[in-house]
Symmetry: C2
Subunit: 295 residues, 2 copies
């Protein structure tokens, strides 16, 4: 039996991601010898205790991280500056501080200044999720076969990076390191923009006159149903993602809007070749994804 | 054993929808005593013969409909005007002519003038589909539990409407009649606009610089993967849908673009409450869909 990656690990936030990590550790303690769960609301803490997925629950982040050699922030990224300020002074020398946030430049901006000398700050982002949230939503297979991206700052300790990589491999993930700015641009197009669009079109439909709206719900064909699946995600998490990847998201959205306007023009002027070409490109991307086994 | 709905039925077009109808009829001939399959390309005809899902294959639409008491157009809607002109003179008095096109005003415009007196024209649209196309893509459960909308013209024969309703119920579908213009508006928002958006965002991603593009494919998170699933649909079918529901589609797209611009503005100016509200609406719509058992 391999040693656990961490002797004592604190998870700050027990939503979909945090509670999945906790569930993975139940089977063989491969991640942490002792797992401390810290959540903001008494309701979440009580539920985590009830589920029995952590060794200890703790309301105070500063107390949660005491004596830990690993700390992972699993809360919405908008809370990271305050969390980092609260736990910074209590982090143990040699400990690893990581996170699972969907935006990485903002995390480095908000958390970096609070990391004491001797603590290894290795930001990370598991590319996994469902439309569900909260401690009941997690499951041990969530990261299986999915990528986790690590965005360590320049000069980060190689052993600490490898320890986080090993952590995610034990969760079932494939691991790659990436420059934080590049991460934010790639995620803007593959995840953040699609979510923004899905939320928006649900609102557009909801604004239709009452009679049409009930028809919309009744006859939602496959296209719209897929959009609502995406749009069912956690509001606070996504609000924070949008606000913390503003530049890249607005750039990708502007590109998309130009392309959508061009498509509108093609529909208006019956430019059949243009439309066919665009649809054909969608198919090609789909085919590439299948070849890469991500679909 | 109930009588089949039609003594002899011609399907013009054997793609996903047509070949699914043919497969349903294999089990017990509940739809047609004899099923004639007509397709434009020799390749599709040969494949349909090979699959053995029709009693007869026929390249010429006029010959296919001869002696039929039921004819259903299952080709892309852009081909309907020519098809209707070709088969009109050969339709048998008392026969029902129907279709499965995604746009209904255009079908009435293109097919209506070619329907001889004494033939019952009952347009229809099964709200079912996958991202696959062609005669191999069909399957007997495609319509199970899904809606089929009939848009009969004013004064259509009640018995003919009921016969088409029975046809679709035997396919496993729930049936409702709807005014054609209303159908086109509802479908514009639940299906046509989501598809247009999905095709567009795939193009936007594909336009990124080569290095980013390969990363996009490699790290496609769930949001983007769902979009590519939608975007993998048949190019000619969707080209025709967009061009034949132009007014409603452009109106819904304009509404969506306004809403997306408002979201962009909220992201730029960090209007957290606005963003949260929009995300929350997406969740509500999702919840409504689940209650209506469409998700």
């Amino acid at each position: 039996m391999a040693e656990p990656v961490f002797r004592r690990l604190a998870l700050i936030g027990l939503g979909l991601i945090g509670s999945s990590i906790a569930r993975i550790n139940l089977d063989g303690r491969t991640l942490a010898g002792e797992l401390v769960a810290c959540a903001r609301t008494p309701k979440t803490l009580a539920r985590v205790a009830e589920l029995g997925i952590a060794d200890r629950v703790e309301a105070d982040p500063a107390r949660a991280v005491a004596g830990c050699d690993g700390v992972i922030l699993c809360a919405p990224v908008g809370s990271f500056a305050d969390l980092a300020a609260a736990i910074g002074p209590h982090l143990q020398p040699g400990a690893i501080l990581s996170d699972v946030g969907s935006t990485k430049q903002s995390v480095i901006r908000d958390v970096g200044p609070h990391v004491p000398d001797g603590v290894h700050f290795i930001p990370g982002h598991p590319l996994a999720g469902t439309e569900y949230s909260g401690p009941d939503a997690g499951f041990a297979a969530l990261f299986q076969g999915r990528w986790t991206l690590l965005t360590p700052p320049d000069g980060a300790d190689a052993a600490a990076i490898e320890r986080m990589a090993e952590f995610w491999r034990r969760c079932g993930a494939m691991v790659e390191t990436m420059e934080p700015g590049h991460h934010d641009r790639v995620l803007a197009i593959v995840s953040h923009l699609p979510h923004l669009i899905a939320f928006t079109i649900c609102g557009t439909a909801d604004d239709l006159a009452d009679e049409s709206r009930s028809q919309v719900l009744k006859f939602a064909a496959s296209g719209f149903r897929d959009f609502t699946r995406i749009a069912a995600s956690d509001p606070v998490m996504w609000r924070d993602v949008f606000l913390n990847n503003r530049e890249a998201l607005l750039e990708m959205l502007a590109r998309f809007m130009e392309d959508a306007q061009a498509m509108a023009r093609a529909v208006r002027w019956a430019d059949a070749a243009y439309i066919e070409d665009k649809v054909e490109r969608g198919r090609k991307i789909r085919r590439s994804l299948i070849e890469l086994k991500q679909a």
